[in-house]
């Protein structure tokens, strides 16, 4: 569905359903340079299990118009504006990578609107290498290549997708290639500059789940210690064999993990 938010069109995938006031809502937030399609399996699942699902295209991504937002805080404000536009009081937020930082910021700054968070492929702070930033700023295809290759575990460089017939490296690369020029750079810079994540994490009062890939090379498990310590009583699931692109690499294990807080 398309709604108007801050004067621009915001696209939300809802599994072809209207939002129903008496149902809980699960909102999915994609990562840098991606769109809502990374959540198709999970959003279909939670829709069938009695939830409103709202899988977002952030501004300037996928089918949402407007320019990409500059900071995680602005993105969090936009997510709350989407909830307002849909008349949704509160939602569980599931975010991947950049999306996980947005979910974290929402939970810290708008605790009355967030009933649970699931941070997938996350860490905080989330520094981005100069090589990726420079390539993304130059709209150089090398940025897509770096994120695609380092986004998958070593074992998944050769595929082995449980989702039949889909070459996950190729599909991820195509998603990056579909992003408008400059979008990836805006997203990467936002990740890099969101340095208050650990501080904000301490303010989280809702149930929180961290889903981490045991072989994640972009946000390695070892880098998540500060975040794990800052969030009060998080549930932490480390998925064997998965890298950073957990929704694609371990879709079933991720679903099972999400049920721990959703």
């Amino acid at each position: 569905m398309r709604i108007e938010v801050n004067g621009e069109t915001a696209y939300c995938y809802t599994n072809c359903r209207d939002i129903e006031a008496d149902k809980p809502t699960v909102m999915f937030i994609h990562g840098s340079g991606m769109d809502h399609t990374v959540w198709t399996l999970a959003s279909r699942h939670f829709a069938r299990h009695g939830n409103n699902v709202v899988s977002l295209d952030l501004p300037g991504h996928g089918r949402s118009t407007g320019s990409p937002l500059a900071t995680v805080e602005e993105m969090a404000g936009w997510v709350i504006a989407v909830l307002d536009a849909l008349n949704i009081t509160d939602a569980a937020l599931v975010g991947h990578s950049l999306g996980s930082l947005i979910a974290l910021e929402c939970a810290a700054s708008h605790s009355d609107r967030v009933r649970a968070i699931a941070l997938v492929g996350t860490t905080s702070p989330m520094p981005v290498s100069d090589a990726i930033l420079k390539a993304a700023e130059a709209n150089d295809h090398a940025a897509f290549d770096m994120l695609t290759q380092w986004g998958f575990s070593k074992r998944h460089q050769f595929g082995g997708n449980r989702n039949s017939g889909i070459w996950m490296i190729g599909n991820t690369l195509r998603l990056y290639e579909r992003s408008a020029p400059g979008v990836l750079f805006h997203d990467m810079r936002a990740c890099n500059e969101y340095i208050s994540g650990t501080e904000q994490a301490a303010k989280v009062s809702c149930p929180a789940l961290l889903i981490l890939g045991a072989e994640d090379r972009l946000t390695p498990v070892r880098s998540t210690r500060a975040l794990q310590e800052a969030i009060p009583s998080p549930v932490v699931e480390v998925l064997p064999g998965a890298g950073h692109t957990i929704m694609v690499e371990a879709p079933n294990a991720m679903l099972d993990a999400l049920h721990k807080v959703l």
């Binding site: 198709t40 069938r48 090398a142 940025a143 050769f158 595929g159 889909i166 190729g170």
Partner: protein
């Protein structure tokens, strides 16, 4: 700025899509010869049916062995996904019925494999899908033939039987300007000789029976989606961009993004038409692909040796191989296929039909049969076999003469192939009334 290197073609040919079997540790991809797969519980079953989880339900829809092959060819071609089908013809049919219905139109090269030509020219019109055939060497002819109802532009990387080299960049430009995808049949070239997606094609069809397998023991096809074509922007493909009643109003472009086409092909075409590949066939094709590069390299090397030999023979009036001087596509072939133009070519014998038949009958190392792309060398006389329904005029239009011979060069020692060809030339000479 250079990004990290992706695995190379040879490495992908051995590893893409495969992991050591999680149940047994088997290094080779096992044959999962099972029609169906157990569900741990009812909710899990429902989640598989509703595309919430990854997994297998029934081998017409997906199978673990086939999945490895599908990922492997998608990786080798640089696409987003693939579907293994019962044959190359099934792959072509699957693509067409995924993209269009009655009232649609296709623009296709006139130089097609006979089976593809039959489907487009005779069978599909009965179901309301018409095709206009055009000169594959003329991109403007493709442009001129496009109508409001056109939904696909189609050709072979190397046309049959004259090896017209399809100018993929130029024809892709024509197709894309009209909001249409370009599909190519890359059976004779394989990803070793050409990467159509890098040149602008959007969909690839293979008969995996041929060079991908190399052993001639299975029938199979592959349909590969580049994920590069914007179906929504085109606005001509409601099967992909509008709600599908057959799956709870799922909109494929909305839910699967770049993989919309290949997902619709699986969720509808494979489900409803059922032309799936047998898992054992997928296993055999995987064994072939593991050695694709070494085989194709040798195929091309032997072909160059054989074409050089034939050029020196008095009875041979023409050798049609794009690398040779005089072939109209020599420059294009050099640009698009620097590793070679495959191992299937035709040549003309003096003496017409009788000479052609005598030549084919006299060979013993070459096998006389209707196939290409085997590790063994093959021969056929098109005018009396694959194209026997065509009269002389139609044959000529397709670049086939009464004395045309098609060879598929295998991996044998080339000196033995040449000795065999000499035998054939002697028989052809006698049949034509000569004294050689």
């Amino acid at each position: 700025m250079a990004g990290p290197d992706y695995p190379g073609l040879d490495t992908l040919a051995l590893h893409a899509g495969a992991q050591p079997d999680p149940a047994t540790g088997a290094r080779a991809t096992p044959i999962y010869q099972s029609a169906s797969f157990c569900f741990p519980d009812s909710d899990y079953a429902a989640s598989l049916f509703n595309i919430e989880r990854a997994g297998h339900v029934y081998s017409r829809l997906s199978n673990p062995t086939n999945a490895v092959l599908e990922e492997r060819i998608a990786a080798l071609e640089g696409g987003v996904g693939a579907i293994a089908t019962a044959s190359g013809q099934a792959a072509l049919h699957l693509a067409i019925i995924t993209l269009m219905g009655a009232g649609s139109h296709i623009v296709a090269s006139a130089a097609l494999y006979g089976g593809s030509h039959n489907l487009l020219a005779y069978t599909l019109p009965r179901f309301g899908i018409e095709t206009t055939f055009v000169d594959p060497r003329d991109p403007q002819a493709f442009a001129n033939a496009i109508q409001d109802t056109t939904r696909l532009v189609f050709g072979e990387t190397l046309g049959n039987p004259s090896l017209d080299v399809l100018n993929i960049p130029a024809i892709a430009e024509v197709a894309h300007a009209a909001g249409l995808p370009l599909m190519v049949d890359s059976t004779t070239t394989t990803p070793y000789l050409i990467k159509p997606f890098e040149l602008g094609a959007d969909i690839i069809q293979h008969s995996a029976t041929k060079f991908l397998s190399g052993h001639g023991i299975v029938i199979g096809g592959l349909l590969v989606d580049s994920g590069q074509f914007d179906w929504e922007y085109s606005g001509k493909f409601p099967t992909l961009s509008e709600p599908y009643e057959g799956f709870h109003n799922l909109i494929f472009t909305e839910e699967f993004g770049p993989a919309a086409m290949i997902q619709r092909a699986r969720k509808e075409g494979l489900r409803d038409f059922g032309a799936c590949m047998a898992p054992t066939s997928a296993f055999h094709i995987l064994q072939g692909i593991e050695t694709l590069s070494v085989r194709m390299s040798r195929h091309v090397e032997n072909t160059r040796t054989i074409t050089s030999f034939l050029l020196e023979q008095e009875q041979v009036t023409r050798v049609g191989y794009p690398e040779l001087d005089g072939h109209p596509d020599q420059a294009l072939a050099k640009a698009l296929m620097p590793n070679g133009c495959g191992a299937v070519f035709s040549f003309d014998l003096a003496g017409g039909r009788e000479a052609g038949i005598a030549f084919a009958d006299a060979l013993s190392v070459f096998s006389h049969l209707a196939n290409i792309g085997d590790a063994k060398s093959l021969v056929i006389h098109p005018a009396s076999t694959t194209h026997h329904r065509m009269d002389a005029e139609a044959l000529a239009a397709g670049g086939i003469g009464e004395g045309t011979i098609r060879l598929s060069i295998g991996l044998e020692d080339p000196k033995d192939l040449i000795a065999d060809l000499k035998q054939g030339l002697r028989a052809a000479g006698k049949a034509a009334g000569g004294s050689r």
